[in-house]
């Protein structure tokens, strides 16, 4: 069975489609029909960190031998994962375009790196690869595209120079800001009068607004969420004023982020009810006595500038919502659309919406946002040659609901 696409991305005129399956990324050019232009596969050894540790040890050992002539220590062994070791899950975690759309930026699991590509007629030319200390979660670029900001699972944000070829040693990397909680998104935005800010969200309900590049100056926190936050967007049509956030809560928040005030709170719990299935039942350990406790979460907010609307995707749900956002941030449900299979991720631009869904074949759908008709992108999915051994529950790592806190003591 083929691995479904875990990340898809469209450029602004929807003429290029980027799709990542497992550790491989594909580039398709459109718009009439999608043609495969290029692909790139992450070939770094999944045991990268073990190998690195070994190299460091052997270096220390050789140093010791050189200094003292002999040593009582034996040379370090090559570390090899035992037979029972869990399979290494190596994905391309996040893919983003620089704001000028000249560069594609992605993060890998193998060496936990940020990889930058220059896009030349749809072809990818690797520019740099900067390994980071911890597994990454989310990428954004500074407004002028000179810096890439990467949030990691440890709660830290690192700033990586987009084009400077010099690779900084992991030891020497210093975070530009940090939370004491897993980061879920990082987003740079401007206030419309020349000031730049970096917004970070985490598993502990926090949305933090810091200045940029002086990210040690915290401007404000936006408090309303009661569960983790999975996704934020700053709709282009809202004049730099509005931020929308959602995650494990039954509602989506809309903020005037510059003033730090909540503009609107859209409770979708009644609207999602008809689409819930057994897949949305809470895990047995946290289930209630009746066994009917449902858990759901927003997994992705996608802005559709052409319609002044958001497409809202949910964790393990075979439907998406279309929510209109007024210029001052008021939210209203426009429609809900049911899909053949559960949605993994999506991307939208111009009047196209691409959805990657879970299934046996034809796992890529394209919606026309004018008439909401859709077609299966068989030709695109046919190019996918990443095999997936379903035995390893690889999908576990994409279950947004796992971010939910289960405090026990």
């Amino acid at each position: 069975m083929k691995h479904p696409f875990q990340k898809v991305l469209l450029n602004s005129d929807a003429s290029l489609l980027f799709a990542a399956a497992g550790n491989k990324v594909y580039v398709f050019s459109g718009p009439e029909s999608w043609k495969l232009v290029d692909s790139w596969v992450d070939t770094v050894d999944p045991n990268y960190s073990l190998i690195k540790e070994y190299e460091a040890r052997i270096q220390r050992y050789e140093q010791e031998v050189k200094e003292s002539g002999s040593t009582d220590h034996r040379p370090p062994k090559v570390p090899t994962p035992g037979a029972g070791a869990p399979a290494k899950i190596c994905y391309i975690r996040d893919i983003q375009l620089s704001r000028n759309e000249k560069y594609l930026i992605l993060t890998t699991d193998t060496d936990k790196a940020v990889v930058v590509f220059e896009i030349i007629d749809g072809h990818l030319k690797e520019v740099k690869r900067q390994p980071l200390p911890k597994r990454t979660c989310s990428i954004t670029t500074s407004l002028d595209d000179t810096k890439i900001l990467v949030g990691d699972k440890f709660g830290d944000v690192y700033s990586v120079d987009t084009l400077d070829p010099e690779i900084v040693s992991e030891k020497d990397l210093v975070p530009v800001l940090g939370h004491v909680s897993m980061l879920t998104s990082v987003l740079n935005i401007g206030n419309g009068s020349g000031k730049e800010f970096v917004i970070t969200t985490d598993r502990d309900e926090h949305i933090r607004i810091s200045q940029f590049p002086k990210s040690y100056v915290i401007e404000n926190w936006l408090f309303e969420h009661e569960e983790f936050i999975s996704s934020i967007v700053a709709p282009q049509w809202c004049d730099n004023k509005v931020l929308i956030s959602a995650g494990g809560d039954k509602f989506i928040c809309s903020w005037n982020w510059q003033e730090g005030s909540l503009v609107d709170k859209f409770d979708y719990s009644a609207d999602i009810e008809p689409f819930l299935t057994a897949e949305n039942l809470a895990p047995s350990r946290f289930q209630n006595e009746e066994g009917d406790l449902m858990e759901y979460a927003v997994s992705q907010l996608i802005q559709v500038p052409k319609l002044n609307k958001l497409v809202v995707l949910f964790d393990r749900l075979a439907a998406f919502f279309v929510v209109s956002v007024s210029a001052d941030g008021k939210l209203a449900l426009d429609k809900s659309v049911s899909v053949s299979s559960t949605i993994i991720c999506g991307a939208a631009n111009n009047n196209r919406l691409i959805l990657s869904v879970k299934g046996d074949e034809n796992c890529l759908l394209e919606y026309n946002l004018e008439n909401w008709e859709h077609k299966e992108l068989t030709e695109v999915y046919g190019c996918n040659d990443v095999e997936w051994n379903e035995k390893g529950d690889l999908f576990a790592s994409f279950s947004v609901n796992q971010l939910r806190k289960r405090s026990e003591h």
Partner: protein, 270 residues
């Protein structure tokens, strides 16, 4: 062993009951309350700041019900406090510093934050007993304690620029390199402390571990929003003297003739 445990359990249950009563009745008559005994509140010295504890914290600073913690300062007309907390002791342990600061800053509210449950309960019982014993003078109404994870949820409790002083007394040293993020003073957390501190506010640090002292000094030195206060300033500051003498750790170190390293920093303008 089991006998001792049950004794501890009984003691804790009895205290739990009186704590509930005392918290709700502000000027209860004639109930004699003894100071709590520390040996019944012993707990492991460490608590993992990264794990998801069952913590109670307000959704935002305005949602915090401070009246429960400082009943002596509730404005009867609004039902809210007539002032805000201004001094925070992060990782207050058994509350020695809180108790000594209380009479020194009678007009200011002082809050201790502690992550260990039993230790927090001890401090709570200690404060309730002290309030009861001094109810004629209303002393110790200005100190209180909450169980919380200050590294994660500080901005849930305090507004921007609300605090004038923050204390970090004998924090957990977390010696191992890979545990350094668990330290209470890190480059990234300092930005959050700078957020809740007002301009001119002071961060106090004291430790008996020289390595940790150097670590805290280097991170505070590097942070653009903090400026070190001089030795002369330390010598004349009443809080530095209190901090050296009054915490449990401080006394222990003194007993063992250990060193104490102090560093104080002022929050400066952006």
């Amino acid at each position: 062993m089991s006998d001792r445990q049950s004794k501890r359990k009984q003691y804790r249950e009895a205290k739990e009951e009186s704590r509930q009563v005392l918290k709700h009745a502000r000027f209860e008559e004639s109930q004699e309350v003894s100071l709590p005994k520390k040996r019944f509140y012993r707990q492991r010295a460490h608590s993992n700041p990264f794990s998801d504890h069952k913590l109670e914290y307000p959704r935002n600073p305005d949602a915090m019900d401070w009246g429960r913690y400082y009943p002596g300062y509730v404005d009867p007309e609004t039902g809210k406090l007539d002032r805000r907390v201004e001094i925070a002791d992060i990782g207050c342990g058994f509350g020695g510093l809180l108790v000594d600061l209380a009479p020194q800053f009678p007009e200011q509210l002082i809050l201790g934050m502690e992550i260990r449950v039993q230790v927090t309960k001890y401090v709570e019982d200690r404060i309730l007993a002290l309030r009861q014993q001094h109810k004629d003078t209303n002393a110790y109404q200005n100190i209180s304690v909450i169980r919380g994870n200050a590294m994660k949820f500080l901005p849930n409790f305090f507004h921007k620029a609300q605090l004038s002083k923050m204390f970090f007394c004998f924090p957990d040293p977390h010696f191992k390199q890979r545990k350094h993020k668990a330290r209470i003073v890190t480059a990234t957390l300092l930005s959050e402390y700078a957020y809740v501190l007002r301009e001119g506010g002071v961060v106090y640090t004291i430790t008996d571990v020289e390595d940790l002292h150097q670590w805290m000094v280097s991170h505070l030195d590097e942070h653009p929003l903090f400026e070190r206060l001089s030795k002369e300033w330390e010598d004349q500051d009443v809080c530095v003297a209190t901090m050296r003498e009054s915490t449990e750790e401080g006394k222990k170190v003194a007993r063992n003739n250990g060193d104490k390293f102090v560093a104080c920093y002022r929050r400066i303008a952006v």
